[in-house]
């Protein structure tokens, strides 16, 4: 069914509407001329002749007006052989156009504004295809605003063509209901400008970014953009660490990218509050990697803060054990 509709759609795109206008004019001419000729040669009034031509061209053919003379029959055959196929073409074209407009609505070609909780990606930085691939494994809708097509597609990925450096283009994005916006423009400067524009329009929007430099990271943080790490220092430190511990980088990847478990942020259990973190974590179910409070992350090795009210913990969780947010990939494990 889907395939047929697709076929239809591409057929419509190819067919120019000019052809349809020509066909419509031709049908009208045949009906008028055929109706008049029929009236003249078969001895009926011209309105009856017109009526006969229309019932014939539309293949209704009631049979209340029929040709009686040989000339009348010749006219009838000519009208049938020319008007009926053209009429069929016109009807098919109208039906196809209706289908096309519906298809466009279904496919969201006109608008992505109806998408709720979409992840919006601005730009086409080199890492965007990989990000899209990773997002495609989840169920949430993804909207990409970029000048060139992401040349990748899944059911949940929508492309809006436009200049992501241009805040006026944001009007085409479902920002008000977005889950988050990811800044994927080519340079730190572009991302910073985009962040300023977005923050101005939507003060509460979740904006994610991975700037290259630590200075831009700080500027973005001041704007309330979630910057967890800057890319250049991250790379440098992973590489430097690899000199002492060659597998440190792999460990990081393993923590972040494993199929079977993932890292989650959860509120600490109520009985931890007031305790030393290093002691409290021993009672945690599973692996508690760290504590988050006052916007800082504590590993609980040398610094061992007292757990405050409202603190969160970073937990390493096996996918099937989680009850909070079942991972869509978890179903197959």
């Amino acid at each position: 069914m889907w395939f047929i509709l697709k076929k239809l759609r591409s057929a419509i795109v190819r067919t120019s509407s000019r052809n349809m206008v020509i066909a419509l004019v031709a049908v009208a001419l045949i009906i008028v001329l055929g109706g008049l000729a029929f009236a003249a040669y078969d001895g009926v009034s011209w309105p009856t002749g017109m009526y006969w031509a229309v019932t014939t061209a539309t293949t209704v053919g009631y049979g209340d007006v029929v040709p009686k003379t040989p000339t009348g029959r010749v006219i009838a055959v000519s009208v049938m052989l020319t008007a009926i196929p053209l009429m069929g073409y016109v009807f098919a074209e109208i039906a196809a156009l209706t289908v096309e407009s519906r298809m466009r609505r279904w496919l969201g070609l006109r608008s992505v504004m109806h998408l709720q909780k979409a992840v919006i990606v601005l730009g086409s930085a080199s890492w965007v295809p990989e990000l899209l691939g990773a997002l495609s494994a989840h169920d949430s809708a993804v909207v990409v605003l970029s000048t060139t097509s992401p040349s990748l597609s899944w059911e949940h990925v929508h492309w809006v063509q436009g200049d992501p450096n241009e805040p006026s283009q944001y009007a085409a994005l479902p920002l008000a209901t977005a889950e988050a916006v990811v800044l994927g423009l080519d340079s730190d400067a572009d991302n910073l400008l985009a962040a300023i524009g977005l923050r101005h329009l939507f003060p509460d929007l979740v904006i994610l970014s991975m700037p290259e430099s630590e200075r831009v990271a700080q500027a973005l943080r001041d704007l309330g953009v979630a910057v967890h790490v800057a890319r250049d220092p991250l790379l440098a430190h992973v590489l430097a660490k690899s000199l002492d511990a060659p597998h440190a980088g792999k460990l990081l990847f393993r923590l972040l990218l494993h199929d079977q478990y993932r890292i989650e942020e959860e509120p600490v259990p109520a009985n931890w509050v007031g305790q030393d973190f290093a002691r409290a974590r021993k009672t945690a179910d599973g692996v508690c990697l760290g504590l988050i409070q006052d916007q800082e992350v504590y590993l609980g090795l040398d610094e061992d803060p007292k757990v405050a009210q409202g603190a969160m913990m970073l937990q390493l969780i096996r996918n099937q054990e989680s009850t909070k947010k079942p991972d869509p990939r978890g179903k197959k494990e």
Binding site: W2, F3, K6, S10, W127, P129, E130, L131, L132, G133, A134, L135, S136, A137, P150, S151, L152, S153, W154, E155, L257, D259, K331, K332
Partner: protein, 261 residues
């Protein structure tokens, strides 16, 4: 001897198939996805990818993909990056995307076109896809394989007779070139733990490469595309570990296996 495929587990194996939305590519994608592999398909046309994904028999199949033009290295890079993003890696590349004779001569069965009548653009287009495309895609994937110290490339090819058939220019030369390239790739990668093998159906196959105009009698002699299923599962499984520079003909696969055992 019926093929015992229970020993060939491909569960979780991440396979990229160029031209995986129809024909032999789709037959292989289906066979692998059905057996639990994570399959990533590419096609020049988005509608074809979507259509293929719409034909999943089960929602449990790990099957996804994106648009891919194997003649453009940028497109290949994006396609692979997205696969890495989704599956976090790649284990097997199946070079399958190809243009058939139809693109040059729609009536190549009834009316073979001698080489001097083949258009320059038609010749270049087929070579660019069937030969350069294999090269570019493998070139993009191999650094990732080298970093892992393992990986497999499977190049889809054709009968030798097809490479010499009258009127089969440029399809024949493009496949012959890809076959030579496969041997060289296998040699180049021999020390690296990366295997390169060839797989071919072993006869004309019922795919979009065959013109619709061929008569019913001929159509009945065509091999079903599904013939690629068992050998591709074998080549992606542990059973084919260490196997390299082989040329496996799908119609003779059972014989080949029994000779091997």
């Amino acid at each position: 001897m019926p093929i015992d495929d229970s020993t060939w587990s491909v569960s979780g194996v991440r396979v990229a198939i160029t031209g995986g939305s129809e024909g032999l590519g789709w037959a292989m994608a289906r066979a692998l996805a059905e057996a639990g592999a994570k399959v990533w398909i590419g096609s020049r046309h988005l509608e074809k990818v979507e259509r293929a994904l719409g034909q999943r028999h089960s929602q449990d199949w790990e099957l996804a993909g994106g648009t891919l033009d194997v003649t453009q290295s940028e497109s290949i890079e994006q396609w692979l990056s997205a696969m890495i993003g989704r599956y976090r890696g790649i284990d097997v590349l199946v070079n399958n995307a190809g243009l058939g004779m139809r693109t040059v001569n729609p009536h190549f069965f009834e009316d073979p076109m001698p080489f001097w009548q083949v258009s320059e653009s038609g010749f270049r287009k087929v070579i660019e896809t069937n030969l350069t495309g294999y090269f570019l895609t493998a070139q993009a994937v191999v650094p990732r394989f080298l970093a892992e110290g393992r990986g497999r490339i499977i190049n889809i090819t054709m009968n030798h007779a097809t490479m010499r058939r009258r009127g089969f220019s440029p399809y024949g030369p493009s496949r012959a070139g890809a076959e030579s390239l496969s041997h060289i790739m296998a040699e180049d990668l021999k020390e690296e733990g990366i295997s390169v093998n060839m797989l071919l159906p072993g006869g004309a196959t019922d795919t979009g490469m065959i013109p619709e105009s061929v008569n019913e009698e001929f159509r009945r002699t065509l091999l079903p595309a599904q013939i690629m299923g068992p050998p591709i599962r074998f080549l992606c499984s542990q059973a084919a570990a260490g196997l390299t520079d082989e040329r496996i003909v799908a119609v003779d696969f059972e014989d080949w296996l029994s000779r091997r055992n």
